[in-house]
Homo-oligomer: 192 residues x 2
């Protein structure tokens, strides 16, 4: 997606160790118009799969997932990392390693909002190692829901996430593919 | 706002101790269309103040703040509760008590995205004690930004937040006013 590519090249920063800083438009300050355009694009790519729900993980997945859900007329559920007191005692919970926190975090979904027979598209900001998304897949499977597609804003193709998730045999769509982050470079695949 | 009132009366649950459960459309599962309508309404109420930025706190403020920002053509910044590795060492940080966590949490904003001369509207899901919003106000003041308005989806009028924030002498707009949560009741002010 050209708009997102250009923004990453203009404002993204390679902080080393595979860390891409996009705090100015995705991860701390958010550009709602850009997120809306990304949501529109995800909706276009996944509409024919007839999903019933969009799933993401707090925090940075919320903006693109919300905009995707808006364009598809669907509810969005975000997995919580801390169980709020409004949630029932019995929940779906899994652990996933957090790339940016350097430790395991919990991913929690209430059975009230993800159930048997749902057709779920996962939307998140990054596809890197795929660990967070794999955690969301486990939660959905525990709930008896079917994951039918995965969409991420930015895929780092050199961190193995796509291979990890390939056994699901479902479409994995990223809007920008970063193929290398050696030195201070951010190399984006120009052809997809 | 009639649409939000009706939804709270249909699906909200009074869990006691002033805890209102709206997990089905705001706090865990989100209705993007409803949030979009709320954002449109905030935009209508605050447009004449000529804000330059929308500010909120993760996590549940993100959806209404993002939609408000979209309708105003502005960026939105969400204060983080954990400092990500992409943030500079020098940040604006304050502590605020969390109603739902029962402890103090950090609110952190990078000086990159909130600065001198900005005209800021704060949007959040709840106005209860006002502690989180007061924390955001402190951060904005530390950054040299001016808070010119506050908007929340749901105000619990019996928890003192409006009084706490009244010294700011700025418009505080809520879309629904809950005046009592005794027993299992949810009493909504019908007139505003």
């Amino acid at each position: 997606m050209q708009l997102l590519k250009e923004r990453i090249l203009q404002e993204g920063k390679n902080l080393g160790s595979g860390i891409l800083k996009v705090d100015g438009f995705i991860n701390h300050q958010v550009d709602p118009e850009l997120m809306d355009r990304c949501g529109e694009e995800f909706a276009r790519r996944f509409r024919d799969l007839n999903p019933t729900k969009i799933l993401t993980a707090e925090i940075s997945g919320i903006a693109p997932a919300l905009m995707t859900a808006r364009h598809m007329g669907l509810p969005v559920v975000y997995a919580r990392k801390n169980k709020p007191i409004t949630m029932p005692d019995q929940v779906f919970l899994t652990l996933a390693p957090s790339h940016t926190k350097g430790r395991m975090v919990e991913l929690i979904i209430s059975p009230e909002f993800l159930g048997h027979g749902e057709r779920v598209v996962i939307i998140d900001d990054f596809l890197a190692s795929g660990a967070t998304i794999a955690g969301l897949v486990r939660l959905a499977q525990a709930a008896g829901a079917q994951i039918i597609g995965i969409g991420t804003l930015i895929e780092k193709t050199f961190e193995g996430g796509r291979a990890l998730l390939s056994t699901l045999n479902i479409p994995i769509e990223s809007l920008v593919y970063i193929t290398s982050m050696d030195g201070e470079e951010i190399v984006i695949d120009p052809d997809r």
